[in-house]
């Protein structure tokens, strides 16, 4: 399968995401000004500080030409994974519900955190079992997940919360310990932790690998079904 990782000016973790994707498939970099998604099976909107996080995190990147294509791709059921700044961009773009607010500590936090798989019913978590613990680092200043009450209720009843910070591990004050949510169609997923920094035993725990493996399994199945 083929991943496309978007590069905005100010992206920092796009090469890391590409390396992580390459553990399970092919991966190319997609330039923010290009409208061609190069026939990829899944899009990763990576971490970093697109457009310097100026104005508001993710606010400017969502208007990049490539994001129009990503919106269409998502509309058609394509898989989109937003990591950290990518999650912020997808929320700003309205592809995911909610918004990310400054950490309660108001500080940048790097920390290896434990996550709990809250739903396996998605192309991003299907390789895990419910309640599995994944050790993945977070690193952000604006990662406090927020959704208004009605939206939050809908998220929960639709089983859209895929990952939660394990008890006592919530690093930023996110509502309901939410670390990652998907859209109603379950094909767009955003999370604050960085799974691409948890795939190589040489550099740390490998809690991020199941997410990339889930995507590969899903795309593989779909491809076989179409064939």
């Amino acid at each position: 399968m083929k991943f496309g990782v978007i590069r905005f000016p100010g992206s920092c973790d796009e090469v890391d995401a590409q390396l992580a994707c390459q553990r399970v498939g092919e991966a190319v970099i997609l330039w923010h000004r290009d409208r061609d998604l190069q026939g990829v099976d899944a899009v990763v909107v990576p971490g970093g500080f697109s457009y310097g996080d100026y104005l508001r995190v993710g606010a400017i990147a969502r208007f990049a030409p490539v994001m129009e294509e990503v919106a269409e791709f998502a509309q058609a059921g394509g898989l989109v994974l937003g990591i950290c700044n990518g999650f912020q961009v997808l929320c700003e773009a309205g592809l995911l519900p909610g918004a990310l607010l400054p950490n309660v500590s108001l500080r940048f936090i790097f920390r290896q955190v434990e996550l709990e798989v809250a739903s396996t019913d998605s192309p991003f978590t299907r390789a895990s079992a419910l309640g599995d613990r994944l050790s993945i680092p977070v690193k952000h200043t604006t990662g406090r997940y927020y959704a208004p009450d009605d939206q939050l209720a809908r998220l929960k009843s639709n089983d859209q919360v895929l990952l939660r910070y394990a008890q006592g591990q919530n690093p930023n004050g996110s509502l309901d310990d939410i670390a990652g949510v998907c859209n109603e169609g379950r094909n767009v997923f955003g999370l604050m932790p960085h799974p691409e920094h948890a795939v190589d035993p040489l550099t740390g725990p490998t809690g991020g690998l199941p997410i990339f493996e889930s995507i590969r399994a899903h795309v593989g199945e779909r491809t076989r079904a179409l064939a």
Binding site: C12, V15, F49, F110, H197, D200, G204
Partner: protein, 719 residues
């Protein structure tokens, strides 16, 4: 000849002595213009000319088999095999950080990153060395710590370069003069390394990056003071503001320009802005340059030529391009949303000419800017009485070993750095094999499958006690840190932070320290590939502790086997490698807590024994024989053992050899290692890993959780 000769009184306000001004007039056969005087005063400042340290620095060894680029370039470069080089340099940003700690520290990081990508290397790691006053008693020091750490994180995190290590010390002598030193490492294939020498008359000088404003125009604003009214706030020099987003684009842009082989040479703009970068490029290439100020894109209107030439606006680079390739350069820059403006050309005149709307604002021989500044001999004199007052005592000296250990772990200099490191991203770029707290040195994997290690060190109090041995210890301790992860040193960079060198006692500290570094480098066979000097760090109460900061880079064959700090496995034997018998109380952390005088001598250094100990640990780590390795430094062997226990969340029982004080210090000379007993054959076994307490029978016994709690609290309480 340029018009508007500067009035003779102005040179003093710009920091030039009368005799220096006379030399300038003699060299030019006329008086300099305002613009020329502004340029010369900066180029002849200590910061640019190293006039009080250059002669001394010649004592440092700079050659070694791995050196690809030595001192004099934007950064030194060592070969790491596989056709790759690692560029690195440490630099101070002390004074700007004291004025505005967040932006000062941020632009310090921005500046050192530019030094590294100016030689064609992609920045892959940042480390920081910070010094502040005592946080327990100084609100200002807590503020500086908080904001400087925030600024470093802001810049490094946003630009996507991991901060992989660093060190912080708190001492009263830094109360008025905090130190913010930043080190950067970069990686480049040999054939992308580029020098800064301008070449090829007719080639075009292109300015890349941010707009030019009145940032950091310090002393030179004196030149305009006659024109500035009191209320003319807009024309005051301003604090430099860092824009990591602009630098990120500039970085990617420069690397793409180099990969496309579009540049003849490249140089960053740092202190003294265009003046320094252009004159150094011209001097190295033996050419002249014409710069047209009116073509420099400005952030605010009406900058005078002298302001344009000395502005320290951040995120700018200067490059030389063949005329036929300027359009391609501009196209690459547009892709990265980075401004590229031809502002001049290379000439064969040997002169730096500054033009402005048809007028000649400056016309100077390049050598008068770069080479003609007089170099001064120091007049060192050992002080007869102590230079520093003893610190206030927080321990009486009658405490038990248990109480002393807990006090040390909770002291600001030894406590956990986690509250600081958590504000930095250590993993971006996916190279980090050992993060802060994992090991004594950071370890980064290379594309070759091998790895490099890097550490930064420099305990100013010990240098204050005994400048020669204290400075040598900093080098040995860096090398010891590298040995703990299995790395062989390739080269080092230093930042010499001292007081006023014109004072005999500071001159003595500086001379002794440089000699100490040189001796240690010779003993270990490690060359100095670059560095920086920050002098005049003085307050009315006296100079800072002499603080040479050493950053060392090494290479290890197998990152899988890179050493770790924490004890790992119950039942492992613990061995002491190296000599601790000479360790003493002088300069130690416990002596500080007890309010002892800042006085030496420090223990002597047996070079052969130290080399032998380093070699032993390195080869054991590389053989995969050990489960942990940790050097014994601040707080002595008791603190080192506690750190191994805390990092591994496991206890240990250790019987110290006869005559070893648990808190005596002799950094750089000895190690704690652990592993299966068979692997430690021939070493001095002193104990075993296991349980959940650290016990030194007959001396102390403490739960690891209590040790961890004390260590965790020490710094966190101030942030």
């Amino acid at each position: 000849m340029p018009a508007n000769s500067a009035s003779p009184a102005k040179h003093r306000e710009l920091g030039l002595t009368d005799s220096e001004f006379e030399l300038i007039v003699e060299g030019l056969h006329r008086e300099p213009s305002d613009t020329e005087l502004a340029m010369l005063s900066l180029m002849w400042s200590e910061h640019c000319s190293y006039k009080h340290s250059k002669k001394l620095l010649r004592r440092l060894p700079t050659e070694g088999p791995a050196v690809l680029m030595g001192p004099g370039e934007n950064a030194g470069v060592v070969d790491v095999g596989g056709g790759l080089g690692v560029a690195f340099k440490v630099e101070s940003h002390n004074h700007p950080s004291a004025v505005e700690p967040f932006q000062g520290a941020a632009t310090g990081v921005g500046g050192i990153l530019r030094d590294v990508f100016a030689v064609g290397a992609r920045p892959i790691a940042v480390l920081d060395s910070l010094r502040f006053g005592e946080p327990a008693t100084s609100e200002r020091s807590r503020y500086l710590l908080d904001r400087a750490v925030g600024g470093i994180g802001h810049y490094g995190n946003s630009i996507g370069v991991p901060t992989v290590g660093g060190e912080i010390y708190f001492e009263g002598s830094y109360e008025q003069n905090c130190l913010v030193n930043a080190m950067c490492l970069g990686l480049a294939p040999h054939d992308r390394l580029i020098r800064s020498a301008a070449a090829g008359p007719g080639n075009v000088l292109v300015l890349l990056g941010a707009l030019t404003g009145r940032d950091g125009i310090g002393g030179a604003s004196v030149l305009a003071s006659a024109e500035f009214g009191e209320a003319d706030e807009d024309k005051r020099p301003s604090v430099q503001i860092g824009d990591p987003f602009a630098e990120k684009k500039l970085l990617e842009c420069c690397l793409e320009l180099l990969d496309s082989e579009l540049l003849v040479s490249l140089q960053d703009l740092g202190a003294a802005g265009l003046t320094s970068s252009s004159s150094e490029m011209a001097a190295k290439g033996g050419v002249g340059l014409d710069i047209d100020c009116s073509r420099v894109p400005l952030r605010e209107p009406d900058l005078e030529p002298f302001e344009i030439m000395v502005s320290e606006s951040q995120e700018r680079m200067l490059c030389v391009v063949e005329p036929g390739r300027v359009d391609e350069v501009i196209a690459v820059c547009e892709r990265w949303e980075t401004l590229a403006t031809p502002i001049g050309e290379v000439t064969n005149s040997g002169r730096l000419r500054v033009l402005s709307g048809g007028e000649v604002a400056a016309d100077l021989p390049v050598e008068i800017l770069v080479d003609d500044c007089p170099l001064y001999d120091l007049a060192p004199e050992a002080p007869a009485a102590p230079l520093y007052a003893p610190p206030p005592a927080v321990l009486t000296g009658r405490e038990s070993a248990t109480e002393s250990l807990l006090a040390l772990l909770a002291s600001a200099n030894i406590a956990s750095r986690r509250p600081v490191f958590e504000q930095y991203d250590p993993v971006v770029q996916s190279r980090t094999v050992r993060r802060p707290d994992d090991a004594d040195a950071a370890v980064l994997i290379l594309p070759t499958g091998e790895a490099i290690a890097v550490a930064i060190d420099g305990n100013g109090r010990r240098v204050a006690c005994d400048p020669r041995r204290g400075a040598a210890e900093a080098v040995y301790e860096c090398a010891a840190n590298l040995a703990c992860v299995g790395a062989t040193p390739l080269g080092l960079t230093n930042c010499l932070n001292f007081g006023n060198p014109e004072k005999p006692h500071v001159a003595w500290q500086l001379t002794e320290a440089v000699d100490g570094i040189a001796e240690a480098c010779d003993a270990l066979g490690v060359p100095v590939v670059g560095g920086n000097v920050s002098l005049y760090n003085e307050a009315p109460s006296g100079p800072i502790f002499p603080t040479p900061v050493i950053g060392m880079v090494g290479r290890l064959p197998d990152p899988e086997r890179a050493g770790r700090l924490g004890f790992a496995t119950a039942g492992d034997a613990i061995a002491l490698v190296g000599e601790l018998t000479a360790a003493g109380a002088a300069g130690s952390e416990l002596a500080k807590l007890r309010g002892a005088a800042v006085a030496g001598p420090l223990p002597p250094m047996d070079e052969h024994a130290v080399r032998d100990a380093h070699g032993k640990v390195r080869s054991l780590v590389n053989a995969g024989a050990l489960h942990n390795a940790h050097d014994i430094a601040e707080g002595g062997i008791a603190v080192a053992l506690a750190e191994c226990c805390i990092a591994g969340s496991i206890g240990a029982t250790v019987t110290l050899p006869e005559g070893i004080d648990p808190f005596a210090e002799a950094p750089g000379r000895a190690f704690i290692v652990s592993g299966p007993e068979v692997a430690l054959r021939g070493l001095t076994i002193i104990g075993r890993v296991g349980g959940d307490e650290l016990e030194l029978p007959g001396r102390l016994k403490l739960a690891v959780s209590d040790l961890a709690a004390a260590r965790e609290r020490g710094l966190a309480q101030y942030l």
